[in-house]
């Protein structure tokens, strides 16, 4: 039972078409990496949308990123990194057969996932209340009427606003590259006579930024949810002592998935929150 070869019996986890545990582990891992490659390509589509839109309309990204809370985003980055650390340590614990440590570390990892989604919820809720949403749902003025109708609503914090005095200097340096095709008659203005772009005012089509923001963070959030479900599953199995030095493949593969989710966020955080 403990020996994978040299005797007729072989471990329960070892499929009969593999020579030994090691070969089975390598095959599973390659399969997981192939899946992770498709995940990277899935996200690549959104990164392309981001890159094209930001290169054409830098002013929208600079304006809109003031509505994102860098502090919350940074804390979330650290929460996710820490949960990646506990996950990596968990794989080690599984490899060494440290069952109690594995259960503790997987629980901590799961807790990190909850923490991340909790902070994400706070951020999403603020955007929702302030109408900072995608497409036609982008309606940042809607919350501003402090009339009687609002009395029943819970306390809404003041919307973060782009600094009126600080921003325009920088905004002026970032003219839009592509003119809006649908506004006004076609024509050009001589250099210097045009309307300076973005006089502390809101650029057009800010909703596109929030569309990209919600798609990227939303798809990432779904991955966090999936990862948490998988961690919960291996947590239950590890309580029963399913994993040890000879067989820890599920822990390792779920770990890889969780690290990929972390990896995506490592790029999302500076691209969305730290625009300069």
């Amino acid at each position: 039972m403990t020996d994978s070869h040299g005797s007729e019996g072989h471990p329960a986890h070892l499929q009969h078409h593999f020579d030994n545990s090691r070969q089975q582990f390598s095959a599973s891992k390659l399969g997981m990496w192939l899946f992770l490659a498709t995940e990277i390509l899935l996200f690549a589509g959104l990164f392309v949308a981001y890159a094209v839109y930001r290169s054409n309309h830098p002013e929208i990204f600079i304006y809109a990123h003031y509505f994102l809370d860098t502090k919350l985003g940074g804390i979330n980055t650290m929460v996710l990194l820490l949960s990646s650390f506990t996950m990596a340590w968990g794989v080690r614990a599984a490899q060494l057969g440290q069952r109690k440590l594995l259960v503790a570390l997987l629980s901590l990892t799961l807790l990190g996932g909850f923490g991340f989604l909790g902070i994400k919820y706070v951020e999403y809720e603020a955007k929702w209340k302030h109408g900072l949403l995608w497409g036609t749902n982008y309606n940042p003025e809607s919350h501003d009427d402090h009339t009687g109708a609002d009395e029943h609503a819970e306390e809404v914090e003041e919307a973060p606003t782009a600094p009126e005095t600080g921003a325009p200097d920088r905004l002026n340096l970032e003219p839009t590259v592509v003119p809006p095709s649908a506004t006004g008659p076609a024509g050009t203005v001589p250099p210097g006579e045009g309307l300076p772009h973005g006089q502390g005012a809101e650029p057009d089509n800010v909703h596109i930024f929030f569309g990209i923001y919600f798609l990227m963070t939303g798809l990432h959030g779904i991955h966090v949810l999936v990862g948490m479900s998988l961690i919960f599953w291996i947590l239950l199995k590890s309580i029963g002592g399913a994993y040890g030095p000879k067989y820890f493949t599920p822990v390792d593969l779920v770990g890889l998935y969780w690290h990929l989710v972390d990896l995506i966020w490592i790029f999302l955080f500076p691209l969305l929150y730290l625009i300069h």
Binding site: S26, V52, L81, L96, R170, G187, K246, F267
Partner: protein
């Protein structure tokens, strides 16, 4: 014989805890650094610094947390191939996007928000 057998049947590479601890410490410092540098206006350098730090952080995660440093090379080849395709995807999309002339008459800006 016993050691040979152990080596043959050893599954995966066990990463020492101090190494994992060092990696997470480096990741935390880099996260702080990437937030810190946004305080300085370095023009177009900012985005490259931010992405450079992200690449370093990603490499740390991939090499140590995801065991790629000790893994079969094929897994790294799979990852790098997918990243090359991502670069190709983004690169060609940006090249195409840059191929449209914003000003029909050179030197004259298009009318914006008339």
């Amino acid at each position: 014989m016993a050691t040979e057998h152990n080596h043959h049947d050893q599954v995966g590479h066990v990463v020492p805890v101090p190494l994992l601890g060092g990696v997470i410490a480096a990741l935390m410092i880099l996260t702080w650094l990437t937030v810190f540098v946004t305080k300085f206006d370095l023009g177009s350098l900012n985005i490259f610094i931010a992405l450079g730090i992200a690449v370093i952080k990603g490499a740390l995660v991939v090499l140590f947390f995801m065991h790629l440093r000790w893994d079969a090379p094929i897994n790294g080849i799979v990852l790098i191939s997918s990243l090359l395709l991502v670069f190709l995807f983004i690169g060609f999309a940006l090249m195409d996007s840059a191929a449209y002339a914003p000003d029909q008459i050179p030197g004259y800006a298009p009318r914006i928000n008339p």
